[in-house]
Amino acid sequence: MNTDLFGLQVNVWADAALRLQLIVVFMTVVVMGLIWAERRILGRFQQRIGPQKTGPFGLLQSVADAVKLVGKEDLRPKNADPWTFELAPFLVFIPIFMGFVIVPFLVGWNIKVLELGLLYFVAISSVNIVGWVMAGWGSDNRYAMIGGLRAAAQSISYELPLVLSLLAVAMVAGTLNLDEIVRQQGSVPYIVWQPMAFAIFFIAALAELNRAPFDIPVGESEVVGGPFVEYSGIRWSMFMLAEYAGLLIMAVVGASVFLGGYAWPLGEELGLGWQVVLVGAKAGLIIFAVFWIRASLPRLRIDQLMGYSWKILLPLVLVQILVNGLVLVYGWSEAILGVVGLAGVVALVSITGRAANRPRQIPARAAALKGEAA
């Protein structure tokens, strides 16, 4: 069982191990870069400079942080459940890491091309919530517990719109193979035909990643870090690594499924250099938007968060899937998809605005809440 690697014949297992090694190194370096980039970008948004003392432009800040975190004492609260507490970071970290197996960075540069790649990604990326709940439950801390349970509720609610928005594309593409989906977008990326699905994917991805404005499980001003509140040193840094790795993988998958990955607009025959630039730029755009949102939007409340997923995102994405089905069955023009998608984006924006600007219900609401709580 030999396979081709850089023109050499190597054992298939050795090949997999090598690629995994490459991915681990790549991921760690990129995540460190992301942390640096986030701090610099947030600094710009907030009229300050950001890290600048460690290396040129503060580039070594993440390295310095990593050294500090590794050197810190690995504390465990006295009453914490030892197994649950110590295993939780791995259960958050490993699923995210396994998600990288199918990511189509470049032509032929996935670790493994899976026919059900998209399904695998969706499945594996939701496993990490077990780790979050374990961290919250095992820490023997009430903030951590509230945070862990919030994370579970949020993850379950936003899994559905996320999966369904990816499914909308998969329907049109007719395949779950990520590489295949990317190749189909050589001339037109799927965001043109499925703009609403992309909007919903982006919002749901923010929630899945626990980024602002959906950072309710880790909300600094409420639950003080949520499930991570008792973690320190290397275990805490594993949570952080997982968070940014999750951001990276979500951005690359979003870029591949909706923005044409390495294929659009130059075709897949172009050299590796151009492909790297294209994928990097597209994923970078998504990541930048995430940072931008973090710098400017307040956090939602838990009931608003749930309501937004179940009452607004889910019905809209179901409508999109219905339209996709009709277009596919009756063989209508693809232009209908684009028009419906754009109308859907307008509907999403206006419904969101109306929901936010609902007239006040006081004191009726306050009284109702009081009665409920009593």
Binding site: S221, S296, L297, P298, R301
Partner: protein
């Protein structure tokens, strides 16, 4: 609903301890929340972590030495705190303050109100969950004001610049130009906050209809300042009992109508604009030269026996000073009426029945300064 299902099972309410080291308690304040799921059922506040006995200490010092302690009761608006104390001493001693000193006092107090409200905007923005951006926006405007204060008084927070009778020394010669410069930047800062918060859907959705308190309840709790005016009560000491030169100035008392967190925020935002207007009028009317202290001041200030209660409108509400003298150069008894303490009483009323995240917002919307609560 959560609670109906809870009745079927044998459930227990969760007690969580917020503070005194919690990031959203604005200092060393502690409250124990009794929560049922995400709903707050009870709030038990604990104060006193910052009690220093400032009032008692003042009774061992002469009148001028007390000014420093008053600064430290309300460190975000030290000029306003000083003003109440200094005016109480003047009322006891029967001192006449020169006109120019009064105008300067007004300008400095209104500037300090602006800097304090900007601080509120920043801290409140962080409470709602924006990552630091509003904090830096607020800080930026406050920095300009504080630089100006430093040029005038030599200090950035605890000014000790007002003296019974007038001011410690005259302002810098370019005072008016500098104030105008700062006002220009403030006006832009107010616009920034309007864009960042008032027009932000999530912010509006988070704050509207949250932490409601009726006008009657607010009066019963003895609330004052923007927190009271947000409930629709047009109570403002500057208008009701004009002190300094406020009777010669044209300004509006801003009131809200809903008494919720959003109105408390919005009242403060509009008050910023009013304060800018007040300062502009002050600058136009203030004489360029003139004395800043009465001509004859005794070397050691002594007051005749008597008592006085004097209140002014500080950024957080009515800041009153009750002063008893039995003759001599030091107060026999000094009592500060703190607006924050009274406003804090309503915390339970406002947050019971809300979500946990809203309880944090309610606490932020009162805009407490713990050193004023505890003194």
């Amino acid at each position: 609903m959560v609670t109906e299902r809870a009745r079927e099972f044998d459930t227990q309410d969760l007690l969580i301890n917020v503070g005194p080291q919690h990031p959203s308690t604005h200092g060393v304040f502690r409250m124990v929340l009794e929560i049922d799921g995400e709903l707050v059922k009870d709030v038990i506040p604990y104060i006193g972590y910052l009690h220093r006995g400032a009032e008692k200490l003042c009774e061992t010092m002469d009148y001028r030495q007390g000014i420093g302690f008053m600064d430290r009761t309300e460190y975000l608006a030290a000029f306003n705190a000083e003003l109440s104390y200094v005016m109480a001493v003047e009322a006891l001693a029967g001192l006449e303050v020169p006109e120019r000193a009064q105008w300067i006092r007004m300008i400095l107090c209104e500037l300090n109100r602006i800097s304090s409200h900007f601080m509120f905007m920043g801290a409140f923005g962080v409470d709602t969950g924006v990552m630091g951006t509003p904090f830096i926006y607020g800080w930026r405007e406050r920095e300009g004001i504080i630089d100006l204060f430093e040029e005038i008084s030599g200090d950035r927070m605890m000014y000790a610049y007002f003296r019974p009778g007038g001011l410690a020394w005259d302002v810098t010669t370019n005072f008016k130009a500098r104030v105008r410069e700062v006002l220009k930047s403030i006006t832009q800062g107010i616009k920034d906050f309007d864009g960042l918060f008032t027009e932000n859907e999530i912010f509006v959705a988070r704050t509207k209809g949250v932490g409601y308190i009726s006008a009657e309840d607010a009066i019963d709790y003895g609330m004052s300042g923007p927190s009271l005016r947000a409930s629709g009560v047009p109570m403002d000491v500057r208008k009701d009992e004009p002190y300094l030169k406020y009777s010669e100035i044209d300004f509006k008392v801003i009131t809200g109508e809903h008494g919720d967190v959003f109105d408390r925020y919005h009242c403060r935002l509009q008050e910023l604009r009013e304060s800018v207007k007040i300062i502009e009028q002050c600058l136009a009317k203030m004489p360029d030269t003139g004395p800043i202290m009465p001509e004859k001041m005794p070397r050691m200030l002594r007051t005749p026996p008597g008592e006085v209660y004097l209140r002014t409108e500080a950024p957080r509400g009515e800041y009153g000073v009750y002063l008893v003298s039995n003759g001599g150069n030091r107060p026999y008894r000094l009592k500060v009426r703190s607006a924050c303490l009274s406003n804090l009483q309503a915390l339970k009323q406002m947050s019971v029945g809300q979500y946990v995240a809203d309880a944090i917002l309610v606490l932020g919307s009162i805009d407490i300064v713990l050193s004023e609560v505890d003194r």
